[in-house]
């Protein structure tokens, strides 16, 4: 029995080692690059840094557009301080805004990404519930989970197959070509070579995606299936009024403690931009939001230097464009808000 167990354990262990070496080699041979899981732990680890936020190193709250379009390294190169990236893919930023507003210790600067189809999602929607779930994790993030996060980070530095969103068993099963019953909404899958994430929560397109027009067309198809090319008018009436009121309340709470907020409307192009203009007319949503909250807003369409980009898949900037976009954005923020961002690290501007 003893020998049998030992032999079985050796065989089992050998199979695991051989399989993982083979799997990791195969993924590397296929051109994939290391990407960090943008999970609850990474978000929670980033959330801890909000208390040092200044205009030079603000907190960014929003959607995937903020994650792709603001190049954190470029920003840090200009201001001397890295922003705290708290944007969450596919969610409305309002729950995170409320969370920061109700944190009495947060007195910093906030850049809020206003992507209308997600920003104006009503309470109880998928986009709102997803953000709320992510927020709920932070206060319960135990010491044990924090330690696991640190260990996991060391492994993720070296092992490509640990990318949960792309290579976990569940992610692979979701890619199987199995048809579902008519009427079932099947969440679309993105191409495997779409993007990669960094430990600072920066997300960027891969080089392979930028040259792969078929993959770009595939993502455009995903946006269409998810309703981003729909011209159907967004929420209105009391729902819209309540959404704007809740945002205004959160902004006021932050300002009352000496914090500052600026809204940014990031670029989109093609059919997505066309649809967004019709579904969320600027005067009914963006202008009203600015007026009722009293917050300074920067809309990409108002600035030639911000609107000269073409998003490869209609919704996010390429890494190269994100760099020049970030450079221009910091200059425009500085001009419009009168905050001093250039080398502001030592000034600790309130």
């Amino acid at each position: 029995m003893k020998k049998t167990n030992l032999k079985a354990a050796c065989l089992g262990g050998a199979l695991v080692v051989l399989f993982l070496i083979g799997w990791e080699s195969y993924l590397r041979q296929s051109g994939f690059i290391c990407s960090y899981n943008d999970d609850e732990s990474l978000w929670a680890a980033t959330r801890r840094n909000i208390y040092q936020a200044t205009p030079a190193g603000p907190v960014i709250v929003g959607t995937s557009r903020a994650k792709f379009d603001i190049d954190l390294q470029t920003w840090e190169g200009i201001t001397g301080k890295a922003p705290v990236q708290l944007a969450i893919v596919g969610t409305t930023p309002r729950p995170v805004l409320q969370d920061l507003a109700s944190d009495p210790n947060f007195k910093g600067t906030l850049i809020l990404d206003v992507m209308e189809p997600l920003f104006f999602q009503p309470n109880g929607s998928f986009a709102e519930v997803s953000a709320t779930k992510r927020l709920a994790y932070y206060p319960k993030w135990s010491l044990s989970q924090q330690a696991s996060f640190v260990i996991n980070r060391q492994l993720e530095d070296h092992l490509l197959f640990l990318d949960e969103e792309k290579f976990s068993v569940n992610a692979l099963i979701k890619r199987l070509p199995i048809a579902s019953r008519p009427g079932v909404f099947v969440f679309p899958v993105f191409p495997l070579n779409l993007e990669y994430g960094l430990p600072n929560r920066q997300t960027s397109f891969t080089d392979s995606f930028l040259t792969d027009t078929a993959a770009q067309a595939e993502v455009k198809g995903v946006w269409a299936r998810m309703g981003l090319t729909s011209t159907k008018r967004g929420v209105g009436g009391d729902t819209l009024t309540n959404i704007i009121r809740s945002v205004a309340k959160s902004v006021d709470q932050i300002r009352a403690r000496g914090g500052q907020v600026v809204f940014v409307r990031f670029p989109s192009s093609g059919e997505v931009w066309n649809a967004e203009q019709q579904a969320y007319p600027r005067e009914l949503y963006w202008e009203r939001l600015l007026k009722e909250t009293g917050v300074t807003g920067i809309h990409f369409a108002d600035y030639p230097e911000l609107s000269r980009y073409k998003c490869p898949e209609w919704s996010h900037l390429s890494p190269a464009d994100a760099k020049s976009f970030t450079k221009d954005l910091t200059r425009i923020i500085e001009t419009k808000t009168k905050w001093s961002l250039q080398n502001a690290v030592s000034q600790n501007i309130p």
Partner: protein, 490 residues
């Protein structure tokens, strides 16, 4: 700390190294105790004070009980232990629930009463370690054994990390004697312990978290009715999830403990092959059901106080057993349904002829239709297993639903009263549920009278090793590394 985390891997490696170094036995026990406190404190350090309080009070109360001959004083010392343990449990687990129901009662009587919602965090494992320490003082009071003289051994018995947060609920006689002599796992025990840890993690990480949780979480979280097929898929998903989650934890706990040289009691014995509810409770969360039997059902009179009183005792035991799982009326209903089915089963057993007729009529159909290996002479057993499984799924609806309204809506969908709900689940999600459900039933049916150890011992080593390797690969690839266990909330 959870077993399915990198922190635990590191923690366990260091502990194993310390446990196998040439230290004195006392030093090793101190290491184990310190490690157990660390294991607990890495979740929420302040709550370790509750654990210390419970340990110190019960150790000294048991001593006082044993040296006192005066009955009143003995009862008083026992009461101190009971009040402290049950008081802590009531405050942390049931404080909010009691206040909420008191407010509702006042309002229904026309008395305007509004209480602030209490912000109470439930200390992980409080239901488990409370029962562990209670059984100790009660047994000392009953003079079942003398109180433990070593505070170190007693503290280690209460706090020993493999069982601390989600069982098995150990009795003093299970564990304390094992601390008396130096213990180190033999090579065979160590290998088997690692295998059990792998098996437990496979059940938890791959099956419960990876394959089933999304389906049940999605459907039970919806505020509207769904298609009957989706409702059934969600309930079956939860049925598999809770078994794999909880038995996975117990298997990990037993395996981890075995690697250190200590044996923990068995907690699950293929419960979905149970023939009836009394058999189910002999197979599901065995250490809880025996605890409830020994410290609640039997003291209430058990089945010795007349037929009617037996039914009452059964119902009380199961209702309180339900409430032990959580502060919600849904858990009470879940316990009540189990109590009801136990009573009905008892009634049927008193009149076996009627039960036999229905079974034989269905035997022929099952013999031709079943996918489960079955012989003619055990078809009726299989039928009763399937009926039990069906009824268990009905009870799981109350266990999983966030509120009573959701439970009723799910049942209406399942039984075709509401048929117009949308289809929510994709085919791969439903396939996963179907594969796990059939797999669990076939596995439990075949393993009813066998053990995991027996099964794997009878395999050729290469098959055993290959299965072991596949489980490990799937654990690594599933990557759900930090999901909490369902029973932590109880």
């Amino acid at each position: 700390m959870v077993f399915n985390s990198y922190t635990f891997v590191l923690f366990f490696a260091v502990l194993l190294a310390l446990h196998n170094m040439p230290f004195s036995w006392k030093t090793k026990k101190i290491n184990l105790l310190g490690a157990s406190y660390l294991f607990y404190a890495l979740w929420n350090p302040p709550f370790i004070l509750l654990l210390w309080l419970s340990t110190i009070v019960d150790f000294y109360m048991a001593k006082l009980i044993s040296i006192t001959e005066d009955k009143t004083r003995r009862r008083m010392w026992l009461a101190v232990s009971l009040v402290l343990n049950l008081g802590m449990l009531s405050y942390f687990k049931y404080g909010g629930f009691l206040l909420e129901n008191f407010t509702m009662l006042m309002n229904s009587l026309g008395i305007a009463f509004e209480a602030a919602k209490p912000d109470i965090i439930l200390p992980v494992g409080i239901s488990f370690y409370t029962f562990v320490t209670l059984s100790y003082t009660i047994d000392v009071y009953k003079r079942k054994f003398a109180p433990e003289s070593s505070f170190l051994d007693f503290a280690l018995f209460v706090t020993y990390f493999p069982h601390l947060v989600a069982g098995p609920i150990v009795r003093p006689e299970d564990l304390i004697p094992q601390f008396k002599q130096p213990k180190k796992a033999t090579g065979q025990q160590f290998m088997w312990g690692i295998f059990l840890l792998t098996l437990g993690l496979f059940l938890k990480v791959v099956i419960a978290d990876g394959w089933l949780s999304e389906t049940s979480d999605l459907i039970f979280g919806l505020p509207f009715p769904v298609n009957p097929l989706d409702a059934w898929s969600a309930v079956l998903a939860f049925s598999g999830q809770i078994f794999c989650d909880f038995s996975g934890y117990s298997t990990c706990a037993i395996g981890v403990s075995l690697c250190l040289g200590f044996k923990l009691p068995e907690n699950f014995r293929y419960p979905y092959a149970a023939v009836g509810f009394s058999d189910f409770w002999r197979r599901w969360h065995i250490t809880l059901s025996t605890w409830l039997r020994d410290y609640l059902y039997i003291p209430l009179g058990g089945n010795r106080a007349g037929r009617f009183q037996t039914y009452i005792n059964l119902m009380i035991t199961m209702l309180l057993g339900g409430l032990w799982h959580g502060a919600s009326w849904n858990f009470v209903i879940w316990g009540g349904l189990h109590g009801l089915f136990l009573c009905i089963e008892r009634l049927i057993k008193r009149n076996p002829k009627k039960a036999g007729v229905a079974a034989t009529e269905a035997e022929e159909v099952v013999l031709q239709a079943t996918v489960i290996p079955v012989r003619r002479n055990n078809i009726s057993v299989l039928l009763r297993v399937l009926l039990t499984f069906f009824l268990l799924n009905v009870t799981w609806v109350f266990f999983r639903s966030p509120d009573f309204g959701t439970a009723i809506r799910m049942l209406l969908c399942m039984f075709g009263v509401i048929t117009q709900g949308p289809k929510m689940l994709t085919t791969p999600d439903m396939l996963k549920v179907a594969i796990v459900t059939v797999g669990l039933l076939v596995c439990h049916w075949n393993m009813r009278e066998r053990s995991v150890k027996g099964l794997f011992q009878s395999m050729p080593w290469w098959l055993f090793g290959t299965l072991w390797g596949i489980m490990l690969i799937l654990i690594v690839l599933t990557q759900k590394s930090t999901g909490s266990f369902i029973y932590f909330q109880f």
